[in-house]
């Protein structure tokens, strides 16, 4: 009894949040959700590096492919996609496929990307395509956006193998609400 009287602050100290024990940090890492929105070479590269590394770190990684980001996952050999003239023109103006990405800056009619690829090879940096293969092998989930598929007139046979079922924004929001670490690229 006397001990309690001598420490009147004890109940307050107990009410404060307990420090997180060290082992709590070693629990299953958060899932990662990358919203792949952009289609430029440097951003595609960033997406692929982070996705493959996330999977290597033991995290579940999902990539939502939308707008220009979805164009990256059209088969490389596809030249023109879409049903109507405008959709076809869009694919003509910006060729889809992971090997045909342009830089957002310093593109210089393809000289920028050519130099980037040359430097990457010289410094043994894996290409976006190599990283995509690794990511898929390590279980990274690719979720195409249904709305973008419709708007660009893209069909399943236009897309690379291994894509999941097309989904919508509600799936993205629900994953974020569930605590996925978000990356908008």
């Amino acid at each position: 009894m006397t001990a309690v009287a001598e420490h009147p602050t004890t109940p307050v100290a107990e009410a404060a949040p307990a420090p997180v024990p060290e082992h709590e940090h070693e629990q299953k890492p958060r899932d990662i959700l990358i919203i792949c929105y952009s289609g430029e070479l440097e951003k595609t590269w960033a997406t692929m590096i982070l996705a493959s590394t996330g999977a290597a770190m033991g995290a579940k990684v999902r990539i939502f492919l939308t707008f220009w980001g979805l164009q990256v996952f059209v088969k490389d050999q596809k030249r023109i996609t879409g049903d109507n003239v405008m959709q076809k023109m869009m694919s003509f103006m910006q060729r889809p496929g992971i090997s045909h990405r342009k830089l957002s800056k310093m593109n210089f009619f393809g000289m920028g990307p050519w130099m980037m690829r040359k430097l990457a090879k010289q410094y043994n940096v894996a290409s976006p395509m190599e990283l995509l293969a690794v990511a898929q092998e390590m279980g990274v989930e690719l979720m195409p956006c249904q709305m973008t598929m419709d708007m660009f007139g893209l069909k399943r046979e236009d897309m690379i193998d291994g894509l999941g079922e097309p989904v919508g924004a509600a799936t993205v929001i629900s994953l974020l609400q569930g605590g996925d670490a978000p990356l908008f690229i």
Binding site: H25, S52, T53, A56, M57, M138
Partner: protein, 78 residues
């Protein structure tokens, strides 16, 4: 340490981020719990990266040395 057998060696020399980590993760998948994995890398960023990888995945970074620009990591599979 030296008495224990290394089960597998990953040669990631010359490779840039993120391939040393990716190759290590892929190799670790094939190992049994407690087995040792040796990784050789020349990417200076790998010192921090391998510490982070071990922490995130729960595998143990048993040994870490650098010699002549080659980083050597010995990891124990969780």
């Amino acid at each position: 340490m030296s008495t224990e057998q290394i089960a597998q060696i990953v040669d990631a020399k010359g490779l840039s981020c993120p391939m040393p980590i990716v190759k290590t993760a892929q190799a670790a998948k094939g190992l049994a719990s407690g087995q040792l994995l040796e990784v050789l890398a020349t990417d200076p960023g790998s010192t921090k990266d391998f510490t982070a990888w071990a922490k995130a995945t729960g595998n143990e970074l048993v040994e870490q040395t650098v010699e002549g620009g080659v980083y050597r990591f010995v990891l124990r599979k969780k």
